[in-house]
Amino acid sequence: MRARWPALGLALLAGGVAAGEIGPSERRSGRDFMSAETRAMQADDNSNPGMLWVLQGEQLWSDPAGSKNLSCASCHGEATESMKGVAARYPAFDDASGKPIDLAGRIARCRTERQGAEIPAREGDELVALTTYVAHQSRGLPVAPPADERLAPARAEGRRLFETRMGQLDLACASCHDDNWQGRLGGSAVTQAHPTGYPIYRLEWQAVGSLQRRMRGCMVGVRAEPFAYGSDAYVALEAYLMSRAAGMAMETPGVRP
């Protein structure tokens, strides 16, 4: 038992306080915790199932939609140029609503306001595919949260939520992802909860899903009432997770167990 339960447990017990945030040199993508097979699946575009969503998003990018019959391309041209690095700096501050907005929210806004289409469902195929396609244009680029002071309150709120014990199991995100990231919960690596691969193809879902869907899973896991998709709370958590991952490489579409 001594060998299996090293410094981690001791730090929790002896200090009586949370071990705190992960130092920059210790940061590791969720990919580094996966099996060699899953890593290989992510690395090869021919075997990465998330690429199907990228292809679907590419199609949607140039399909005219809505009452104005405009496509994303009508305004933004080639996504490979115009969308490069965009996902790496979201959530961003949205002047219209006066609060931070995440990438999926931004795309949904274009869909309704600029194209005159219906509000796309948060985890629906269309929005997930478009978000995956746009985020894929940042693959390999460093996460670059904007130096926008107006985002500071959301980041602080995200951190507060991350450190708040929730649910019947009374666990905070930080209990696992800051204090026990090297451990295994049941058969799963806990990881540091970096948002670098999103939207991801999750083997358990057999589909691509958003960062919010992944966070929902953890909230349900601790028997907490999850936040609503698109809520300020989730956007705040996203803003915090992105600031925690500043400088790490984007991987979209990541593959996770």
Partner: protein, 150 residues
């Protein structure tokens, strides 16, 4: 490990000895770092306890703990191995740890199995009830005291 044991036992002496005052839970008495008497007055059944400990969705024990249980590859390592726990701890000490580990270590990640939920936003299904019922806790305690091989 020395530091850990100290941290585990030190606050216990400082705890007030007495019954909980939560109306919907049955009262129990904490003496030092133990609850000597069975919750509800009756001891449990070790076989039922063994099954419960292995139930990942219900008791959740193996998500964090390893031990002499089925499916070792699905056991977590966020907590001490429960092998030999029946030698290290008395029945009453085990009972308090399962009932409410946070009395001994407020920063523990181990949920209080017989307390009212302390976290925010508890989902409706789980609101206002403990994770396990007294009888289930007694079954688990009855099983853990049999784990004598270290």
């Amino acid at each position: 490990m020395g530091a850990a044991l100290l941290a585990l036992t030190a606050p216990a002496g400082a705890q007030p000895v007495g019954a909980t005052d939560v109306p919907t839970l049955i009262a129990y008495e904490v003496a030092g770092d133990a609850i000597t008497g069975p919750l509800g007055g009756t001891r449990g059944d070790a076989d039922r306890g063994a099954k419960l400990v292995a139930e990942r969705q219900k008791s959740l024990c193996v998500l964090c703990h390893s031990g002499p249980f089925p499916d070792p590859h699905l056991q977590g390592n966020l907590a001490p191995d429960l092998k030999g726990v029946g030698v290290r701890l008395s029945e009453g000490q085990i009972r308090l740890r399962v009932v409410d580990m946070k009395r001994l270590n407020p920063a523990s990640i181990m949920p209080a199995y017989y307390g009212l939920p302390a976290g925010e936003r508890v989902a409706a299904t789980w609101r206002g009830r403990p994770i396990l019922e007294p009888g289930e806790i007694e079954d688990i305690v009855a099983y853990l005291v049999t784990l004598k091989d270290e």
